[in-house]
Symmetry: C2
DNA sequence: AATAGCACTCTAAGTATTAGAGTGCTAATG
DNA sequence: CATTAGCACTCTAATACTTAGAGTGCTATT
């Protein structure tokens, strides 16, 4: 190893430190690294390299006589520059495939199966956001009379999401009118994204006059029913129990704060929504996260798409000390598969 | 206190031990009890009573020089004979009411709000089972064409549960036939419980002959679509994070087993299903539970009803050391309210 | 530049000590 | 006779003390 570029060696050492620390959760000593390289370098040399890496703030000391562990910056460098892309094994892929196809009948199950799939393969918590209603595309609407004053609206989107909501009509609109409205909407809104519907109808409204005007207005009233297009974006997560086995969560108070953070859901939702604007795999490491509850955690996210349109996001969360390679591949693969499954059932 | 029936005193002491232990989680000494009775009895006397209670296996010693704590039998006696029924405060009731009415638009939210309501008020985990499909009553069915081969079935029950499921038709049944089938079913099945539908149709089938026979057979095929009446009974639970604050869960390994137990869900479902056959509030204390993961926990369950028919169950789970009075009232009140809310939206 | 050697540091695990909370028993008391 | 005071005894949990060993950083050597 003598004639290797010094920077190359630094990289290798950092890599070894990360790998070893991820595996054992113990600060890594120079002896260990030396052995990892089959003694082709002495511990003393490794110590010198380590001193350099520490100066670069890529690794740190918990105390004088302890080994080194990666800093957030260290992980960042590892993820950006050292990690070569890997694929899940055939077995792992088939676990995901089976789970998704088995549970795809019902939307709720599919979401839960997806988050469970990630957590099973990566051993960290899996997170799945339901398809954003606003990004989904209108497919069909149908009104079903429940009793004298109430109507069940069934809205079908291209993501296979069927949204039921009950409307109180109070006799403003007759049944026959409602039937005409549904015919009109089904014809008119084909292929329009739910987020654009109101704008679209408003524009139509301005173009029209007289007799059709009132009809359109009623149609608009119906489609604007608060519960119908209301965001009920939900965060599914699973696998927190596996997380509790990590030494990082041995302090139950910390574990509790973390769980509360997930249970609360708001911040998770915001984070994922923000990430959804960007393409590809996103990685947030430790202190890079603005929420203090998860500053010792890392989050990996990815979008899933239907017909090349991003409609939702999946991800994983666990301690900063995680197997980034595997988690990234799992999140990536799942996002792809979930898109496909949704496309099939949509 | 001298001239009080000796049994009466034992009861009071047991009661005091339970109350104090529930509050502090520390074994209760004779001094403490004596003070609780404003020194009307001396610690020595209390010690004698305690010795009796211990002989009856209602309380125990963790070790010689520690105070007493209730045994499972002790809690059982406390719950059955000592606890007088209490009501939630107006504030607590209004917390439940607000939560349920605010989240009642959508079924999933309602279930989650219910479990959260229990956990918020009792500080233990709240559990809610979705209305059993088989116990619900048929209200309306509608078929919506999705594409050439698939049909979305929308089944509405009296519990407001709207069940969507997709059917692959493969041209066995024409659209017009399907329409006639829905009209037939809507007319015929009014008021029949979903669990009885198959039997009912089979009976009808045997009565009929010739032309109508084939029609009935197709109707039956449709209603028997595996995903339609398939049990997808689900367990909602919330409030596990509050649970983690209890000293009982300071051992993270135990906490993990417990969480896994809930996450798994199967055993919870079985337990609640079994309890559903019985009326009123059911209490399972510690070792009375057959699942070893929860033998240091107690479970309180109650049914909820629509039109006097039991269709589901709610409950709470926490450490045996819980405020039984409050938890029982909360579960009881919630089950009542949930039934009402479901009746309203059904 | 790489390595061996060595003094030095710090933790974590094990051991010892001790204060005090609480008991159970016995004898005294109204 | 039920109740109580007194007292010796027990056990825990907290604190302090000790020590082995893992690992470093520096210096001298190859």
């Amino acid at each position: 190893m003598k004639d290797i570029d010094i920077d190359q060696r630094r990289k290798k050492v950092l890599c070894a430190i990360v790998d070893s620390y991820v595996e054992t959760a113990m600060p890594v000593g120079s002896r260990t690294i030396s052995q990892r390289f089959r003694r082709s370098v002495s511990p003393a040399t490794v110590r010198n390299v380590m001193a350099d890496l520490e100066e670069m703030q890529l690794i740190m000391h918990p105390h004088t006589s302890a080994g080194r562990m990666p800093t957030d910056r260290g992980y960042r460098f590892y993820v950006d520059s050292l990690l070569e892309p890997e694929r899940l094994t055939k077995e792992e892929e088939s676990v995901i495939n089976k789970l998704l196809t088995r549970e795809c009948r019902d939307f709720d199950s599919l979401m839960r199966a997806s988050s469970r799939a990630i957590s099973m393969i990566t051993n960290v918590a899996g997170i799945v956001l339901t398809p954003r209603l606003k990004r989904s595309i209108f497919k069909h609407i149908e009104f079903i009379s429940m009793d004298s004053s109430r109507v069940l609206t069934v809205l079908i989107t291209n993501s296979g999401l069927v949204k039921n909501s009950v409307m109180d009509l109070e006799d403003e609109i007759s049944r026959s009118e409602l039937f005409r409205i549904s015919e009109f909407l089904n014809h008119e809104l084909e292929g329009i994204s739910l987020g654009d519907i109101k704008d679209y109808l408003t524009r139509r409204l301005l173009e029209q006059c007289d007799s059709f005007y009132n009809f359109l207005k009623k149609a608009m009233l119906v489609i604007s029913s608060p519960s119908l297009l209301r965001m009920d974006d939900r965060v599914y997560y699973e696998g927190t129990t596996s997380l509790m086995a990590y030494p990082e969560f041995k302090d139950i108070a910390k574990a509790r704060l973390f769980l509360r953070f997930l249970e609360e859901g708001k911040d998770v939702l915001d984070l994922f929504n923000e990430d959804m604007e960007k393409e590809g795999i996103k990685v947030h490491i430790g202190k890079e996260n603005s929420c203090k509850e998860i500053q010792e955690c890392s989050i990996i996210t990815s979008n899933y798409k239907i017909q090349h349109r991003t409609i939702g996001a999946v991800g994983a969360i666990g301690p900063t000390r995680m197997e980034y390679g595997k988690v990234i591949s799992a999140v990536s693969y799942l996002s792809e598969m979930l898109g496909k499954v949704l496309e099939d059932i949509g």
